[in-house]
């Protein structure tokens, strides 16, 4: 009996169903939801059919809350077979339908339907996976994945929450698959790419079950064996913290890693410019660099006196760490984060796809951008004007023999260098000159 090799482990699938009533396919024809739900239930049951130990959870994601549709947190329903269907499958179907009705009934009537709380649902799913892993009997392994089925549009309002759950999932080795029923979803696609899952935008809702069975049924270890749709191109644009909009060029704070869309700052007193202004007012600029917290509009420690060398080091190491993290996400995009406090504003740049609409007309980045050569990839440094003047800039250029362009705005100086040049050398010189 040599059949004891190859440990067959179980697989846990968590399906997150977006039940938000303002999805377009539901508003067009509410009956489609029933069809989609049937397809999803059939898919869930086929997952359970694969192996005896396979586990399933379904989470309904509404605009006011997310809830487990299966397994039911309370006592399981007492189900008797009504036809030839396997009892467990009947239980799954009945539980999901019953709890979904409860979920929809519980929605606040007077409130307008908002955005689906997908990031929250993913977090719930991750918690569930963690719990199941704890309960796993020793010696067994379990692979887990999350499938998101949604017809909602792309929105960046939950950007930070999304990124948090995506990276957590990546760390927990949980795949995130996304099945989009309506529009292309670039943020969730990023999540798939980060965690190694599959992204599919269903061309038509009629064959939903077939799409699900073909693409999403194979477990992680079987995916390599089957021919499945490829990754395609992933749009890695980040959302700025001030407006929650996807930006092509963003500025990253060296300390807190928040991204803002331009150095001029955002209305409402947030952003780099505001931080700079205030820092200058309190006289604490020097070589400290700047700190600001993007979304809240509160400014961190800009008013503090010159930071000691130690704190600088500390923040440097944070930067290195996080730059690795970002670098993983930034494949494809040219994002560079420099561990130097003075280079406070680092530019993410080099996305191949540029969307004119998302550029902010008031930002200087846009101006620079328009002058820059769009095809050659470049690295941009920005420096505060007070520290660097154009004399230094020209000197640096001459001494290195590197062709570079400089731009100065009211508050900052930008240096644009060809990508092939030795950036490290320039930076060294630059620091030398400044100090």
């Amino acid at each position: 009996m040599a059949d004891e090799e190859a440990p067959v482990d179980s697989s846990l699938l968590i399906i997150i169903v977006d039940t938000n009533p303002n999805q377009r396919y539901i508003t067009d024809d509410p009956k489609v939801l029933t069809n989609c739900l049937d397809a999803i239930i059939a898919f869930a049951n086929s997952h359970l059919m694969q192996k005896q130990r396979n586990q399933l959870a379904v989470i309904g994601c509404h605009f006011h809350k997310s809830e487990y549709l299966y397994p039911s947190p309370s006592k399981p329903l007492d189900v008797r077979q009504i036809d030839g269907q396997y009892e467990l499958f009947t239980l799954v179907e009945k539980t999901i339908k019953m709890r979904l009705v409860n979920l929809i009934k519980s929605q606040p009537q007077d409130e307008k339907a908002g955005e689906s709380l997908l990031a929250g649902s993913i977090a719930m799913a991750l918690c569930y996976i963690a719990r199941m892993r704890l309960q796993l009997s020793p010696g067994l392994s379990m692979s887990s994945r999350i499938l998101i089925i949604t017809g909602s549009g792309d929105t960046a309002a939950q950007y930070i929450n999304y990124m948090n759950v995506f990276f957590t999932a990546q760390k927990q080795q949980v795949l995130i698959d996304v099945c989009s029923l309506d529009k292309h979803l670039s943020l969730l696609q990023q999540g798939c790419d980060i965690t190694g899952g599959l992204y599919l935008k269903v061309p038509s809702l009629d064959g939903l079950l077939q799409y699900l069975l073909w693409v999403f049924l194979p477990a992680a270890n079987e995916r390599g064996k089957l021919v499945l749709p490829g990754r395609g191109r992933v749009d890695y644009r980040a959302a700025c913290f001030c407006h929650r909009e996807l930006v092509t060029i963003g500025y990253v704070c060296s300390v807190c890693l928040s991204e803002v869309h331009g150095p001029q700052g955002a209305p409402g007193g947030t952003g780099v410019a505001a931080a700079l202004t205030r820092a200058r007012q309190t006289g604490g600029v020097g070589a400290t660099g700047l700190e600001f917290i993007g979304s809240g509009g509160s400014i961190g420690r800009a008013g503090d006196a010159v930071r000691s060398r130690e704190t600088l080091r500390a923040s440097d190491s944070v930067m290195v760490d996080s730059s690795n993290r970002r670098a993983r996400r930034g494949q494809g995009a040219d994002m560079k984060v420099y561990p130097n406090a003075i280079e406070a504003n680092i530019v993410q740049y080099g996305l191949t796809q540029l969307d004119e609409e998302t550029e902010h007309p008031h930002s200087t980045a846009a101006d620079i951008h328009s002058t820059a050569d769009r095809t050659t990839k470049q690295t941009l440094f920005t420096y505060e004007r007070q520290i660097v003047d154009l004399y230094h800039l020209s000197k640096c250029r001459m001494e290195n023999g590197i062709s570079a362009k400089a731009f100065a705005t009211e508050s900052a100086v930008f240096l644009e260098i060809k990508r092939e040049s030795n950036v490290g050398q320039v930076r060294f010189k630059w620091r030398y000159l400044i100090s």
Partner: protein, 478 residues
């Protein structure tokens, strides 16, 4: 010249016959296509067969499930990436063997596959609903004396151990029926003693004891089904009922209403082995136990659903110094351990033994294989063993690798011979005759051994006919 045929039977070739435990796939493969055809009329069987398929085959089936026309074989092949074509062939083979799909020509003349009609229909029923409910699920009044899962586990264990105890020491005959004994005898697990006619355990029986409980039950039931056919019970019906049980929910009661008389008899037998619990023969309801539920996971690797938190979970600790500590007081477990260890100390709840070359070889001589030994130790490993890491190396087994390797080496040192079937040619009248025939056999690549001095040669069984023909032709000509 004479040729002495040494017709070795297969038992000669394999001096220590090991117990064969077929899984469902192998069992069904050995049955006729007509039998399979009747089986596929039961949704339960379709579900069970589906789970037994290789993983790629499962995806083939699910992709073809909603397709009505035949699908070209080339298309099916294109679903799998090139690097795994071997696995794909295996999957296709499995599907054909179990007649889950058939070859069907496509209008363009290309060969195609189509799922067997009844299989497709009934798998859909099991997955999506429709059709008639399974025979045992008519509605019931709530049971006033409902039994919980712990009770059922204890009951099943007690019943099954009863059978095992009977095998080890047949003095205790209460609680086991003549039918069960007949099955044990039929399976060759026990045999009638020549002197007093009492049943004694055979070597195969000891191997049986080393199997996991799920496998024991499955093997036992396989033999039951064999004997069932003689008792005018339909094997297909029994098998379908068994799988119905395995797809039921633990701790839930089911109705006996609507079961045929044959199935009621079968149910009583299952009750005896502890697969179902019934308070009274005429109770009208029964509870399937974990033994019945585990039938579906006999296939290697799929660890059975063990009762959680039970003390019976595992009790053996194996250390790198070959010491075995078993926390048990069951005479059965101790007897089993004694098969392959040298027992040193015995305490009320603990037995200490050591694995030695002699003790293991004794077990090997008894027909137990190293794989079975290792599997037994793994199966009953103490939870503490499962937790311990093997020095950062994630090996497939939680046992110390040194011991596992040594057991395997002890086994392989016994297998220094390789057996080839052959035919001896000797007593040649002349040297030339011998040389001619030998050279011919050598040219045909069928010569196993030859000695010129004694004019003896051995050719393989496959080459015998050819060489014989050549010899006839040659001797006629000369």
């Amino acid at each position: 010249m004479s040729e002495s045929k040494s017709s070795k039977s297969s038992s000669n070739l394999n001096p220590s016959p090991t117990l064969q435990c077929k899984d469902l796939h192998e069992y069904l493969k050995s049955r006729s296509p007509q039998f399979l055809e009747t089986l596929y009329n039961y949704p339960t069987i379709c579900l069970a067969v589906y789970r037994e398929l290789p993983e790629l085959a499962r995806h083939f089936v699910i992709r073809l499930l909603f397709v009505e026309q035949p699908v070209p074989q080339a298309v099916v092949a294109s679903w799998v990436s090139q690097a795994y074509s071997k696995e794909q062939n295996k999957a296709c083979e499995a599907l054909s063997e179990l007649s889950v799909w058939q070859e069907a020509p496509i209008p363009g003349g290309l060969p195609g596959w189509i799922l067997a009609q009844s299989f497709k229909k009934n798998l859909k029923v099991a997955l999506l609903g429709g059709g008639r409910p399974w025979s045992m699920s008519s509605s019931l009044e709530p049971d006033g004396k409902a039994r919980d899962i712990a009770f059922l586990d204890a009951y099943a264990l007690e019943r099954w151990e009863c059978v095992l105890h009977y095998m080890v020491g047949s003095q205790q005959t209460e609680g086991i029926s003549a039918d069960a004994v007949r099955i044990l005898l039929h399976a060759g697990l026990m045999t009638r003693d020549a002197e007093d006619g009492s049943a004694v355990i055979t070597r195969a029986g000891f191997q049986f004891l080393l199997l996991s409980t799920a496998k024991q039950v499955w093997l036992f039931l396989q033999h039951y089904l064999h004997t069932a056919e003689k008792r005018s019970l339909s094997a297909a019906e029994c098998l379908a009922f068994l799988y119905q049980l395995s797809f039921s929910t633990l701790g839930k009661d089911y109705s006996t209403e609507g079961l045929s008389n044959n199935m009621l008899v079968f149910l009583q037998h299952l009750r005896e082995f502890g697969l179902v619990y019934q308070r009274k023969r005429k109770a009208g309801r029964f509870y399937p136990t974990r033994l019945a539920l585990n039938i579906a996971c006999v296939r290697g690797g799929a660890a059975p659903l063990e009762p959680t938190g039970g003390s019976k979970h595992g009790h053996i600790l194996l250390e790198t110094n070959y010491r075995v500590y078993a926390y048990t007081d069951s005479t059965l477990q101790i007897a089993l351990l004694g098969l392959f260890t040298q027992l040193l100390y015995r305490f009320p709840n603990l037995v200490v033994g050591v694995l030695t070359r002699e003790s293991v070889r004794q077990a090997l001589r008894g027909g137990i294989t190293a794989a079975q030994l290792i599997h037994y130790l793994e199966q009953h490993a103490h939870p503490q063993m499962l937790k311990s890491e093997t020095g950062g190396i994630r090996s497939s087994s939680m046992l110390p690798p040194t011991v596992v390797d040594q057991i395997k080496l002890w086994e392989s040192e016994r297998n220094r011979f390789t057996y080839t079937e052959g035919v001896v040619y000797n007593q040649f009248l002349s040297q030339t005759d011998f040389v001619v025939l030998r050279d011919y056999a050598r040219a045909q690549n069928v010569l196993t051994w030859q000695n010129e001095r004694t004019r003896t040669m051995v050719v393989t069984r496959a080459g015998h006919d050819d060489v014989k023909k050549f010899w006839k032709r040659y001797s006629k000509n000369s």
